[in-house]
């Protein structure tokens, strides 16, 4: 029977063993927290990142490009709404499957922070570049960057999960 802890302070060797024990638990839980999201959600987030810069570019286009601006705005809002609904479903299923809370700090901050700051700049920047140049390649480029980021993150999670497991 494990004691209730009313023992003397541990020796350095015992303290080291206890720390090693916690490190093992942490590594195991981190591997579980790095469980990749289902492919259908990766496809959803990739589609959202592809549609968003194009729809924003269409909304900001002057004169109208392919569709009226209100149609681009509706497309953008509908894409976002669908994404958030799918995100809620995927997050709930992921938590139920893994048994741990969703964490956004599994990947290193040196990668995630520049992307969180950089992606909106790429999306917004490409839309304004398109507005001023009329070249849709800006939008397709931003869509390509978004898709690459989404797929890259998924593959990173897969690798991290395999490595940690």
């Amino acid at each position: 029977m494990e004691s209730n802890g009313e023992s003397l302070r541990p020796t350095p060797a015992q303290a080291r063993a206890a720390l090693d024990d916690t490190a093992r638990i942490r590594a195991s839980v981190t591997a579980r927290a790095a469980t990749p999201w289902p492919l259908w959600f990766v496809a959803t987030i990739t589609a959202m990142l592809v549609v968003l810069p194009i729809a924003l570019g269409g909304f900001l286009a002057e004169p109208a490009w392919l569709m009226p601006q209100w149609a681009w705005l509706l497309t953008m809002l509908a894409t976002e709404a669908v994404f958030f609904v799918f995100f809620a479903v995927a997050a709930r299923d992921w938590c139920a499957r893994t048994g741990v809370a969703l964490r956004f700090d599994v990947l290193p901050k040196r990668v995630t922070v520049p992307l969180i700051v950089g992606m909106p700049l790429v999306v917004l920047g490409s839309a304004y570049a398109f507005r001023h140049t009329g070249q849709p390649l800006w939008l397709y480029g931003a869509a390509g960057v978004g898709a690459a980021v989404s797929i890259g993150f998924h593959l990173w999670f897969v690798r991290l999960h395999r490595k940690a497991s």
Binding site: N4, G5, A15, R16, A18, L19, R26, V100
Partner: protein
């Protein structure tokens, strides 16, 4: 002018130091929140043993639970309270201090 120094050993916590309770705290500190069955699997203990340790931690105000229904079955999710998180981290620091540089 006064200087205050805190001894890391002050954070040593006998309630947390019991091996399985230390593992539970380490797991919850890392995961944020975890399902009872996952903790049981990670620790390799029976549900009754885990339940006893969780009760000790809850009585100390270190752990709180949330019940959620999934596939018609009730699941218990556990998380560290703010007090539990502080106590665990202080205890971890005390262990590091014992080990030394």
């Amino acid at each position: 002018m006064s200087t205050s120094t805190t001894d890391p050993m002050d954070g040593f916590n006998a309630t947390i130091h019991a091996p399985n309770r230390l593992r539970i705290c380490a797991l919850l500190d890392t995961a944020g929140e975890a399902e009872f069955g996952v903790i049981q699997e990670q620790l390799g203990v029976s549900a009754s043993v885990l339940s006893k340790h969780v009760t000790v931690l809850m009585d100390a105000g270190y752990v709180e639970q949330r019940k959620a229904v999934r596939d018609t079955r009730q699941r218990v999710w556990l998380r560290l309270t703010r007090q539990g998180q502080d106590a665990y981290r202080a205890h971890h620091a005390a262990l590091r201090a014992i080990v030394g540089p």
